[in-house]
Symmetry: C2
Amino acid sequence: MFYTVGEAAKILGVAPSTLRYYDKEGLLPFVERSESGLRMFKESDMDWLKLIGCLKATGMPIKGIRRFIECAREGDGTIGERLKILEAQRESVKNQISELERHLKMIDYKVWYYKTAQSLGSTSAMESYKTQGSQD
Amino acid sequence: MFYTVGEAAKILGVAPSTLRYYDKEGLLPFVERSESGLRMFKESDMDWLKLIGCLKATGMPIKGIRRFIECAREGDGTIGERLKILEAQRESVKNQISELERHLKMIDYKVWYYKTAQSLGSTSAMESYKTQGSQD
DNA sequence: TATTGACTTAAAGTATAGTTTAACTTATAT
DNA sequence: ATATAAGTTAAACTATACTTTAAGTCAATA
């Protein structure tokens, strides 16, 4: 029915200390404790942690995630704010993808450059290919 | 013909202190100095800095970038290593994009969830829609 | 019941990537 | 010539996100 912090950490692929840190930072107010103070992670807590992982992996800082969690605890009055946060994050992720695709093009070019240089035996033999933004 | 550190920083959209930090970390061994010790950035240095910016933006740590720069200084014997570094970085970027696209799907779902909840006036009214991985 | 492994907290430590400060020098404009 | 804006360094400071340590408690097993 419940997972300990170690079990939850294993399932999520993070260190137990990371979950304790998140708790300390106010990211896990929903996790209940046993009478003796041990954390008890429910299935729904794991769902929250997956969302936290998603927001974290897409670059939202701990404080931003905490705000979202706080909103959820505050109830229906914050649906608008939660929506705004998620829509902003969606735009951010789209921009991150665009940026990475742009950088990927440059890396692809460099890979081509070095492959050709390798076949020619030197980078100086590449002089004739050189255009903008290319060097060794 | 040459840019000062402030001019170079402005063109690249970074702080002058960032360029000095990169220099200290061995990322800019190609930047020459005036007789009095001022950095003089050439056009080709700016090209290097754009590549450094690309590698940094795609998650390569400073030490990794330094290794690449060192290779380039060592000459044609390191073409193979430079190619390996760039091919690994290309794979890394592709994985980052895939991960972001995966996360984007979850965020898209959450945006839909809150939009619907907003129109219904509450998240509890969403019960009937709930499937895996969804909570407030 | 005693041991062992996992849990608890607070506080200190680590890693990465810069930024800021202090004291000083150089370059440009009046 | 001189003020000022921007350059120089080393060293200290900041931010973020954890991780590790220390001292102690809890839970399961032989």
